[in-house]
């Protein structure tokens, strides 16, 4: 029985519900010490001195500074510009100046209180406009971290064709991942100067590469092993290398394992966040509702270092024109350096920063030509054989119209839109509104990224008689370590019980690439199919030789090796017999893009992604006109993900991502003062609770990825992209407020109301 498409219970479920799952903070190694970090106190400056209080007994602790780094003092990512430990100039609050380890965390924290950091302050840069002015330079000669342009058709001609032009500037704030498990890592020295690194991570091989540069040793000197991870959402993609770096430097000096687990406030203060952004949109449209021109200026605040910003900017910009047909597009994306902690990967990876502006703007464009939001989107939605802004000709897996139709059918959007437009009030005078957002998300790395990566995975015969999947793709809660075995079992044609999955550990599994970019299911699907065929070819040849059978009709069924309809032996016996006779067997293969995929990095044209997932979110809200409190009553979440390998888990991704999007829209506000996050704890950075969460109706559409064996597309990031504009569009319908910025907290809605209603309205409201 195939398992793809069925609700297999998550394979790590037992461990998680009994408390037996070992997260990094649950791991206690013999003689392990605990590390803490002394950090820069201001946003921009030069380190003058780091002094240890002579009154403190330093004999019980060890400290490490940059002189204790044997390799290059940096956390290698795209560039090598992030120092692990500051020696001179620093660019944000919270950079490391000294590392401390002690037998107990309490003692390490006590020691930290006896370190005095003296700095010379430099003028900081906090806003996009200050960064753009480039009076103070943080990066290069202009503070520009990255810049890209997409150009299609003739923009001027497109605007000439237009009857209406709609223009607007929109902004989005920082967003915190707020995984429930803070960052944490353990480094443990092994014989011969090598290290085990165990912890909370998304991408073991990213850490491997960073350790190689930092420690000046080959990557093979490090076994990077994932502990059970308590949520990541992109936040443990690149930052995990920083924590690993602190631990390994301390462990080398201490000659023993060192663990660092961040406190919540420390995690929130210094780790990466979603890039804040500002987007200017100018759109030409004919009276009949046809889009003729789109001009987009997409600006991101990168924070202090390059980290992953160029890639985030690229994905954001490519998604910025949205799922709309338009012959004339000019989109310019640029990211600037500021003296704030580096912004990095966060579910959606630039796309939520693009879709909030676009989808709020598109409602305004629709209104300009007197079309309702759904009708306008149906009219302009990309369809098979249409070309995207980068010139990609979309294939038959394009499901824009399908998701719009499903949204209409399930949410009764137009009926409610008309009802609420008539000014329907609910009980107690609250205003009601409905809004939607239409969006897509590319699966896998942008452009030729997957072709360069050649993500590798494998299958191995194990002594327990099972076939183990070898992959560096990590389980962070999203369910990959259930979905991957499901696909492996189906490609092998056997029961799920015949398959296992190895712990992601760089000494045990090949480099499949990072667990990011909504790529895991799509990438693993193809590799597993190829590996299953190769493994079976070897196993069946072995059976043909040793059991003198004609191998032609050999196949797996259930837990049996079959010859035609005749059971030959249990698969477990075959696995053991092969190992006994021929020794260990591992087959590996790598992901390849479909042959027709072409991407030009220079011109930013071509096939940006092998396939796209399509979605439409609908939100119904009630707004209290006195307090501006917003209650999201219900969200309809329609998503085409190609194939739901495990429907319950797919729904869980969609619901969870959508609630993060609701937080992004309404309550998740990071306030900065002097480059320091004032909202560095769960008391002040507010994420949605059970009491805030709306009812959700998830509708999965399955229009298969043409070049994937099971048809699965990417899913992880898609649900983060559309919730915020859908909710804000609903608030606009309910209140008439022209909201251009999120989060739309009651305070911000009140400001918006004052702007729109002027002093007279203000007095009336105040009175």
């Amino acid at each position: 029985m195939p398992t793809v498409g069925t609700n297999v219970s998550r394979l790590d479920g037992d461990l998680k519900v009994t408390g037996a799952a070992q997260y990094v903070d649950d791991i206690d190694l013999p003689s392990m010490w605990h590390g803490v970090v002394v950090r820069t106190p201001v946003a921009h400056g030069r380190l003058v001195s780091v002094k240890r209080d002579p009154a403190f007994d330093w004999s019980e602790v060890i400290t490490a500074d940059a002189s204790d780094i044997p390799g290059k003092n940096c956390v290698a990512m795209i560039e090598e510009d992030v120092p692990l430990i500051v020696t001179d100039r620093f660019r944000h609050i919270g950079e490391a100046v000294l590392l401390i380890a002690a037998p107990t965390r309490e003692l390490a924290l006590e020691a930290r209180r006896h370190v005095m950091v003296d700095v010379e302050e430099l003028e900081p840069v906090f806003t996009l406009d200050d960064a753009k002015a480039a009076r103070v330079l943080l990066h290069g000669t202009d503070n520009v971290i990255a810049e890209y342009t997409i150009a299609k058709g003739d923009l001027a001609a497109g605007f000439e064709e237009a009857d209406e032009v709609v223009e607007g500037t929109y902004s989005v704030g920082h967003q915190e991942h707020m995984y429930i498990e803070p960052q944490g890592m353990i480094a443990a020295p092994r014989d011969g100067g090598t290290f085990d690194i165990i912890g909370s991570m998304q991408c073991p091989y990213y850490i491997s590469k960073a350790m190689h540069v930092l420690m000046g040793q080959p990557e093979e000197a490090f076994a990077i092993r994932q502990a059970v991870v308590g949520g990541a959402f992109g936040g443990k993609e690149d930052y995990a290398s920083v924590v690993a770096g602190y631990c390994v430097v301390l462990a080398r000096k201490a000659g023993r394992p060192v663990k660092i687990v961040y406190d919540r406030d420390e995690d929130t203060a210094v780790t990466t966040k979603r890039h804040p952004g500002r987007v200017h949109l100018r759109t030409g449209v004919k009276r009949d509702g046809t889009i003729t021109a789109m001009e987009i200026r997409f600006e991101l605040d990168a924070g202090a270092y390059v980290t992953l910003t160029p890639v985030v900017l690229s994905r954001g910009l490519i998604h910025a024109p949205g799922p709309y047909r338009c012959a004339n597009v000019h989109a310019h994306g640029i990211a600037y350096a500021t003296n704030t902690p580096p912004n990095g990967a966060f579910r959606g990876f630039g796309a939520p920063q693009a879709f909030f502006p676009l989808e709020v703007h598109i409602d305004r464009v629709a209104a300009a030509c007197c079309l309702d939001p759904l009708a306008f989107r149906k009219r302009n939605c990309l369809q098979p054989n249409d070309t995207t802004a980068t010139g990609q000709v979309l294939d038959e897996s394009t499901a824009g119209l399908e998701v719009l139709a499903a949204a209409e059918a399930h949410a009764h959007f137009e009926k409610k839109w008309n009802e609420f437009a008539a000014g329907a009030e609910a009980d107690g005078g609250v205003r009601r509104g409905i809004g939607l957002a239409f969006f897509f998300h590319g699966a896998g790395f942008t452009g030729s990224g997957e072709a360069r990566m050649k993500g590798e995975a494998g299958l191995r015969l194990d002594a327990d008689g099972r076939i183990a999947v070898l992959t560096a793709c990590t389980e962070m809660g999203q369910g990959s370590h259930t979905v991957i075995p499901q696909m492996a079992a189906d490609h092998l044609g056997c029961d799920l019980s015949c398959v296992s999955i190895e712990t992601p550990d760089t000494s045990l599994v090949p480099d499949t690439g990072p667990t990011v970019a909504s790529r895991t299911t799509m990438v693993m699907d193809q590799i597993l199919k190829k590996c299953a065929e190769a493994l079976q070819a070897q196993l069946f040849a072995f059976v043909a030789e040793t059991a003198e059978r004609d191998g032609a009709a050999l196949h797996f069924q259930g837990n049996q090796l079959m010859d035609g309809t005749e059971p030959v032996m249990p698969i477990a016996d075959l696995v053991r017999a092969y190992r006994k006779e021929r020794g260990e067997l591992t087959v590996t293969d790598h992901f390849e893009l479909p042959e027709h995929i072409e991407w030009n990095e220079e011109t930013y044209t071509g096939d940006a992604y092998p396939t796209y997932a399509w979605a439409c979110d609908v939100a119904e809200v009630e707004v209290d006109p006195e307090t501006f409190e917003v209650r999201v009553k219900k969200m309809w979440l329609v998503a085409d993900i190609g194939r739901a390998v495990n429907p319950i888990m797919a729904e869980g991704q969609i619901e969870g991502g959508s609630l993060q999007a609701m937080g992004y829209a309404l309550c998740e506000e990071h306030k900065l003062d002097g480059g320091r996050f004032q909202t560095d704890r769960l008391q002040t950075y507010i994420i949605p609770t059970t009491m805030d969460a709306p009812a959700m109706e998830t509708v999965i559409v399955e229009k298969p990825f043409t070049h994937g064996p099971t048809g699965a597309k990417g899913l992880g990031e898609l649900p983060m992209d559309g919730g915020a504009p859908a909710i804000v569009n609903a608030i606009r319908q309910a209140t008439g407020l022209d909201i251009r910025d999120i989060p739309a907290t009651p305070e911000h809605l009140y400001e918006c109301w004052k702007r729109q209603h002027g002093a007279k309205g203000y007095e009336r409201h105040e009175g």
Binding site: G19, A20, G231, G652, T690
Partner: protein
């Protein structure tokens, strides 16, 4: 600091525990008693990952000090939820509590970091209200943050477990 001694009933078994009175109950459980199923998410009573049951009430173990406990206090952690320690609910086929089973089968756990606390809060709810509405479940879990699920499937799981328990699952 002088240590104090308390006779506690932890997951059904009596234990004499010696610690400083200012030791956080969470640290006592995780470090001293090696009950690492109880998690720390924020250390200030906001996230609920450290929820345990103290004498039938859900509490944040990060906000309680050892010295606040009294002799005879009953503590239940996630480790005590399965198997025979919990009166009335043990002995199902696989030894998991129906809540634990439902969290696995109905998608109530993803990364799992909030799960022990969620389970304890849900367990306390079902002890006092075996047939809660979805709204009542939401209220009971309002102090437990989850960043993965959107809560829908957590509420599904509690609802499903309650139904199974009313139908006599053991």
């Amino acid at each position: 600091m002088a240590v104090v001694t308390r006779k506690l009933i932890i997951n059904g078994s009596e234990q004499e525990v010696v610690a400083e009175p200012t030791r956080r109950l969470l640290d006592l459980l995780r470090s001293d008693l090696k009950l690492t199923g109880t998690k720390e998410g924020c250390g200030e009573g906001e996230c609920g990952a450290c929820s345990i049951i103290l004498n039938d009430e859900v509490v944040d173990s990060c906000l309680l000090l050892f010295g606040q406990l009294a002799d005879g206090d009953r503590l239940l952690t996630v480790e005590g939820l399965s198997g025979s320690q919990v009166p009335g609910f043990s002995g199902s086929n696989d030894d998991l509590h129906p809540l634990q089973r439902a969290f696995i089968d109905l998608g109530g756990t993803q990364c799992g970091m909030c799960t022990p606390g969620m389970l304890m809060a849900a367990y306390a709810l079902l002890c006092r209200n075996p047939n809660p509405t979805r709204e009542e479940i939401a209220v009971a879990l309002a102090g437990n943050l989850c960043r993965c699920t959107g809560y829908v499937k957590i509420i599904d799981a509690v609802e499903g477990a309650a139904k199974r328990m009313r139908e006599g699952a053991r």
